[in-house]
Amino acid sequence: MRATFVAAEVGNGLRRNLTMTVAVIITVAVSLSLFGAALLVRSQVSTMKDFWYDKVEVSIFLCSKGSDTPSCAGGAVTDAQRDQIRTDLESLRPLVEEIYYESKQEAYDRFKEQFKNSPIVDNVTANALPESFRVKLSDPTKYDVVASAFAGRPGIEQVNDQRQILDKFFRLLGGLQLIALLIALVMLIVTVLLIVNTMRVAAFSRRRETSIMRLVGASNFYIQLPFLLEAALAAALGAILAIGSLVVMKVVLIDQVLAPSFQFTAFVGWDAVAAIAPIVFITGVGLASIAAFFTLRKYLRV
C-alpha cells in the first residue's frame, strides 16, 4: 500500500472530473443541510416539551357573577364550594403537585402585566376576570383525572389544560419536521443517484488506467480505493458545508431572529448542534461510500 500514490490518484481524479465533483459536493451539502435542519427541529420540539411540560398547569376557573355555563347556574362560586374544591384537589396528591389559588385581583394584575402595551387593559376590570385554581400535575399527561373530577361541578366554570394548546403547536412543528425529513430523503436519493452516475463516468474516463491495473495484477481494493476515497472526500466536503449551514441556522435564525422575538420559550442550544453534526457527517460520507462501493463493484470487475 502506497499512500502517496493513492493520494495522487485521488487528487487527479477529482480534478479531472471537477464539474461532477462540484455537483456532488453541492447536492450532498443541500440534502444534508435539510436533513440536519429536520433533526434540529426535532430536538427543538423536545427542548420545548421539556421546557413547557414543566410549566403547564391545569386551570380550574371558578364561576363569577356573569358566568353563563350550566354549572354556574347558582351564581358566583361560594366560599364553601371553593373550600371543597381545594380539599378535593389536596386529596389527589401526589398526582397534584402544587395548588395555587389566583384571586380576581391577582388575575387582573397578571393580565395587566401581560398586556401592558395594549389598550385592551383599559376596558377590563378585576371583576371581569375569573378567580381560579392553578394546579400543577406531577404527570402532565394525566390531565383527564383532574378534568373528570372537576368539570361540570357547581361553582366551576371551566377546566382548562394548557397542554392541549401546546400539543397543537407541537403537532405543527412535528409536521414541519416531517416535511423537512421527506425533502431531505428525496434529496439524499438524488445525491445517491448522482454519486452512482459520477462513479460511472469516473470509471469510464479512467478505463485505460484501470484496465492496465487489472492486467498487471492490481487488487480490486487497490483499483477501487482511489474512486471510493474521491466519493468519500467529496461527500465529506459537502457534509462540512452542511454543518456550516447548521451553525449559520443556529447563530442567525435561532439566536438572532427567533430567540429575541419569542422570549417565552427555550430554543435548542449548541449541544444539540454538536450532537447533530456527527450524524450529518457520518450519514453523508457513509451514504456516498456505500453508493460508490456498489457502483464500482459493477463497473470495475476483475
Partner: protein, 229 residues
C-alpha cells in the same frame, strides 16, 4: 506452465464455440506462436490464460493453478506472474516512459525504493536508455511497444502473453521487437505470441500452434506460418 484439457469456450452471443475441445500443453521456457485467421480463437485462448474469461468445460491450468477453481480474489496474484503485451501498446499518454513502467509496480504496492532500482534496469533490457522522460506520443511505434514490453517484463514474470505485438509495426521494427521477445525468452520467461505475420514465424522457427474455427489444426515444433495449407 499452461495445460488445456478438452477446453470449450462458448460466448453467449455466438452460435459457434470460440474454442472447442482444445487440448494442448506448453512447457516452461517455450516460445510459442499462435497463428490462425481472425475469429479462429487466438484471443479467446489468451483471455482464458489470463482468466479474463472462464472455460465452459474442460480444465485450464496456468502456472500450477486450475483457473476454473481459482477464486476471484486470487486472480491479481496470478496476473502478477504473467506479463501482457498488446497490438495497441496500451500506454498511459500522460505519463513518461519511466512512469508508465513504474505505474505497473505502484499499483501492486511495490515500495518506491524497489521501483527506482528496477525501472532503469528493465528500460536498459528493452533498449530505451536515454528515453526515460519521453511521453508515448514522442516515441515511434516500435519504441512504444518496447515500453509496453518493459512494463510487462518489469516483474520478471514466468509467462509473457503477446497478442499480435507486431500488428501495428513495419517489418523492420517488427524484427527488433522479435529479437527483444527472443531475448526475454532466453532469460527464462515462457512466451506465447499470437500473430498474423508469416515472415516472422517463418524466420524464427519456433513451435507453432494453428487454430481454425476454434480447433487446433496444427501443433508443430520449429514450424512455419502457412505449412498446413
Amino acid at each position: 506452465m499452461i495445460l488445456f484439457d478438452h477446453v470449450t469456450k462458448q460466448y453467449a452471443t455466438q452460435n459457434r464455440p470460440a474454442l472447442e475441445d482444445v487440448s494442448l500443453e506448453i512447457e516452461k521456457g517455450e516460445f510459442i506462436f499462435l497463428v490462425g485467421p481472425s475469429g479462429s480463437g487466438k484471443s479467446t485462448f489468451l483471455r482464458l490464460v489470463l482468466r479474463e474469461e472462464r472455460a465452459n468445460s474442460g480444465t485450464v491450468w496456468v502456472l500450477g493453478k486450475e483457473l476454473n477453481r481459482l477464486s476471484n480474489w486470487k486472480i491479481p496474484a496470478l496476473r502478477r506472474q504473467i506479463g501482457t503485451v498488446f497490438q495497441d501498446f496500451r500506454l498511459l499518454p500522460n505519463k513518461t516512459v519511466s512512469e508508465n513502467v513504474a505505474f505497473a509496480l505502484e499499483v501492486i504496492g511495490k515500495p518506491s525504493s524497489h521501483i527506482k532500482k528496477v525501472v532503469p534496469e528493465v528500460l536498459e533490457v528493452v533498449g530505451l536508455e536515454g528515453k526515460e522522460g519521453r511521453r508515448p506520443d514522442e516515441l515511434s511505434g516500435g519504441e512504444q511497444q518496447r515500453v509496453a514490453i518493459a512494463r510487462a517484463f518489469v516483474n520478471r514474470p514466468m509467462l509473457l502473453i503477446a497478442d499480435e505485438p507486431t500488428g501495428n509495426l513495419d517489418p523492420g521494427t517488427s524484427i527488433g521487437i522479435m529479437k527483444l521477445l527472443d531475448r526475454i525468452n532466453k532469460l527464462g520467461t515462457t512466451v506465447v505470441m499470437s500473430t498474423h505475420d508469416s515472415q516472422i514465424v517463418d524466420q524464427m522457427r519456433r513451435r507453432v500452434i494453428e487454430l481454425e474455427k476454434g480447433h487446433v489444426v496444427r501443433d508443430q515444433s520449429r514450424g512455419v506460418y502457412g505449412y498446413a495449407r
